[in-house]
Amino acid sequence: AQSVTQPDIHITVSEGASLELRCNYSYGATPYLFWYVQSPGQGLQLLLKYFSGDTLVQGIKGFEAEFKRSQSSFNLRKPSVHWSDAAEYFCAVVRGGGSNYKLTFGKGTLLTVNP
């Protein structure tokens, strides 16, 4: 069965520092992968997605992610973190097929940004 692992429950970085959030997936074929962000008290907002092609994908808010098939990873990066990036981040992989596409989510990584 498809699964997603986010090894880091909580990460703290200083404003202006670089950021990498890890995501590992388990899936037999080429996966469809997503990163979402959730600000406190809000729903999930899509940051970026990967389906095929270029393994480095760009998203909103200056985020990017790199798909590495050999490592079954889809890590999220940002060169310089802003205080407004403090939120919870979820990686997700598509499962199912036909009309029944569903998402399997990781348990999330909470990002704290220090001034």
């Binding site: 469809y32 008290g41 729903g43 999930l44 907002q45 997605k49 598509v94 029944n100 596409y101 990781g106």
Partner: protein, 113 residues
């Protein structure tokens, strides 16, 4: 932009009550989903629907039911609310294509007393 609207941001109910959570989307999406979100457990799928009047159980359907009478509306029903159903509930919708993302509402924080 896709808009997914959940009828309540906060809701307080009592044990044993029948509770309805409503969700409406405005993008003519075929698929709709209900999740619950709990600290340390991430998002878990309760039910989803891929067409009007069609529904399928997700990973944690026990104690819940759903209704989809119109394409744009998907309701989650707690038949007899219990305290362990206190949680954040998120609704989402998507096109019926695997590479299209799900779009989420802002969530309903439900407390069962």
């Amino acid at each position: 932009d896709v808009k997914v609207t959940q009828s309540s941001r906060y809701l307080v109910k009592r044990t044993g009550e029948k509770v309805f959570l409503e969700c409406v989307q405005d993008m003519d999406h075929e698929n709709m989903f209900w999740y619950r979100q709990d600290p340390g457990l991430g998002l878990r799928l309760i039910y989803f629907s891929y067409d009007v009047k069609m529904k399928e159980k997700g990973d944690i359907p026990e104690g819940y039911s759903v209704s989809r009478e119109k394409k744009e509306r998907f309701s989650l029903i707690l038949e007899s609310a219990s305290t362990n159903q206190t949680s954040m509930y998120l609704c989402a919708s998507s096109q019926q294509v695997g590479n299209q993302p799900q779009h989420f509402g802002d969530g309903t924080r439900l407390s069962i007393l």
